[in-house]
């Protein structure tokens, strides 16, 4: 049994302009100790997904349907007080803005110790000791002294570290990190991601990392879910996603990021912008921006299918939501992924290396995607 199982989650927001479906029919699994990435641009529904896992969707939003099972228990049918016990204790959350996550009128140490006392029934001295250890673990220098500092005396990076310490304080089984490093500089980001990675292993915590940054995903995650306009469009292990993306949106995203050292004159782009969720295009919501789109894409809404077989995929299998894999398109997805210096020999342990000549992607030609990914690394 997976640690977290989400099935057919749909979240609506009721706004003045109409009903906004922020998340639609979303299913995924997170295993114990796994690092699961959710990637997408703003408005893709990433944050709403995270909030609904903790039943923290705001007033105007409602979880319409679906199931969220954490360790086999349905979070959506739990009582409010039972959910409160899960929050912070078993599922912890880190937000992008560390500054607002810390209460400015209490010292940083006290806030963390408070959580520990509350959830774990520690005494004052024991909670303090555990807090100092945590602050040390997340890389805050002089933790004894910083225990009594107020949040405003911490720099942005240090605040985010303190937030991570607070999230880890009750030894949660799942840590949801929503753009945890987006507001930070790269040198700080690198340190914090490195730290997060190590701590997750040490505390045996699963991470759901939500970000728009493909670099961060590549560094941290094992498996990835790509979201577009409230729906999952691709699900794959991180190697599969980067070396052999299957959904045109993923392909576009991958080709649009400037990469250091790729010596490209001009960036490839995805034309247009993500649709406003009030009025999502018919059929495949990516069709107005997709160079491979055809008439069929405006009529049929594609389901997540196994790109090799075209069969409907289970919630933890490699899949992509594109009509090309169900044989509904006349044309081909004729893009190519070339990975310099990655020949078959160097990549034996990896899942399905693309062809060394870079003639990579001929659809349906790479059967049985190895969804284990780099789980044993």
């Amino acid at each position: 049994m997976a640690l977290l199982e989400v099935d057919d989650l749909t979240v609506n927001y009721y706004t003045e302009e109409g009903v906004v479906t922020a998340v639609e029919d979303l299913s995924f699994r997170i295993d114990r100790g796994e690092k699961f990435g959710v990637v997408g641009e703003s408005g893709a529904g990433k944050s709403v997904t995270a909030l609904s896992l903790l039943r923290l969707v705001e007033r105007s939003g409602r979880i319409e349907s679906g199931e969220i099972r954490f360790k086999g228990e349905d979070l959506l049918s739990m009582s409010e007080s039972a959910v409160r016990d899960v929050r912070g204790n078993e599922i912890a959350m880190i937000f992008q803005d560390a500054q607002t996550a810390l209460n400015p009128v209490y010292t940083v140490g006290e806030q963390i110790a408070e959580t520990i006392r509350h959830h774990l029934d520690y005494g004052d001295a024991a909670a303090r000791e555990r807090t100092v250890r945590l602050l040390d673990d997340v890389g805050i220098p002089e933790p004894e002294a910083r225990y009594d500092d107020y949040p405003h005396e911490f720099s942005g990076g240090m605040q985010q570290r303190a937030v991570i310490a607070m999230a880890l304080s009750c030894d949660p089984d799942l840590l949801i990190a929503d753009e945890p490093t987006t507001a930070l500089d790269v040198t700080i980001e690198a340190k914090i991601l490195d730290r997060l990675d190590r701590l997750a292993a040490e505390y045996d915590t699963a991470i759901q990392l939500i970000t728009h940054d493909l670099g961060v995903i590549a560094e941290v995650c094992d498996r990835v879910l790509v979201m577009y306009a409230g729906r999952a469009v691709e699900r794959a292990s991180v190697e599969e996603l980067y070396y052999d993306p299957k959904h045109p949106y993923t392909v576009g995203l991958m080709s649009a990021i400037p990469r250091i050292g790729d010596r490209q004159d001009r960036l490839q782009t995805i034309p247009g912008t993500m649709p406003d969720l009030v009025e999502v295009p018919s059929g495949c919501s990516f069709h107005p921006r997709c160079p491979f789109a055809e008439e069929a894409c405006t009529r049929t809404r594609p389901q997540l299918v196994d790109p090799a077989t075209g069969e409907r995929a289970g919630p933890d299998e490699r899949s992509a939501a594109c009509l090309a894999y169900t044989g509904d398109l006349d044309g081909e997805l004729d893009y190519e992924v070339e990975v310099r210096g990655r020949d078959a020999g160097a990549a034996t342990a990896e899942s399905e290396p693309p062809e060394p000549d870079g003639g990579g992607v001929d659809r349906g030609a790479d059967p049985d995607a190895d969804s284990e990914g780099k789980a044993d690394e």
Binding site: S255, D276, Y335, E338, V339, R340, G341, R342
Partner: protein
Amino acid sequence: MSSERGRIRITGFDADAVERREPLSDWTENRAGETEGRWERGWREFRQNRSAMLGLYVVAAMALLAVFARPITVAGVTVQPFALAPYRPDAILYVQGLDVSAYEAPSLAHPFGTDGSARDVFSRVLYGGRFSLSIGFIVVFVTAAIGLVYGAVAGYYGGWVDEVMMRVLDLIFAFPGLLLALIIVAVLGKGYWELVLAFTAIGWAGYARLIRGEILKVKENEYVTAAKALGARDRRVIFRHVVPNAVAPLIVQASLSIGTVVIGVAALGFLGLGLPPGSAEWGTMLDQTRETIVQGPGGTIPWWVTVFPGGAIFLFVMSMNLIGDGINDALDAQEGEDVARGGEV
């Protein structure tokens, strides 16, 4: 594994193909629909607010009644010939030969009864709206304008200018408001324009402080720097970019404080420091008859001489507050909308 960067290269995702082909569906990026200016949107919001609209109707009705209460003559020419009020407000009816005594209870001939000098209360209440309403609007308009300019200059330039200007404000805030107005009236004497002056003197400081705070926020916006980068002069930056974006709370404040001013005028009137005795201003009317509240002539209390002017004050002030709240909500909702569209849905 490699330590070389930029190894992945994707080709064939041809964005231009999307531009070249005919649109597959009629979906477009920008939603259709008429574009709406800020004020149009605000008005739409406001109109949906029932209590605010009720307030607006009441105020409009009172204003019309006041205007059409008696004919208005400018330099001998009658510009407004209608007379909704049957009598002149200062007409002592038995002097005019009518069979009316003081403190006559409401009747068909005198729907609001008569007061101690046998004047028609209905006519006086209608006509009195002219004083209360006009003082309210004039004072608020003048104070808001002064406060706007003062606060904008202080907030925009900051530094020394701001420091000095704000200390002047502190000086005004150091006086209890109504007391200061009272002193001014006591010194200058009673009269319409004296009242306007008194309330203006105490009223503008609040707006100045409000608008300064707002300007400090607004001028941090990049579009202000952008205007400077384009070579715009200070005046243009202030009045085209800063003030229009800072003015919303001022409007809310102004609409709410019209009621306050009317109450203040009434209060001074009640203290006998308003308009000259005998004026048909609502507060002064109350003052004239205040002894009757406890003990009326002949042991009966003529409730109509206090209830109708008092009720007029109440009705007007409450309606103004409803309007003010409505404006507040309408302008607030816009801000919210802007933010919602900017962030994640």
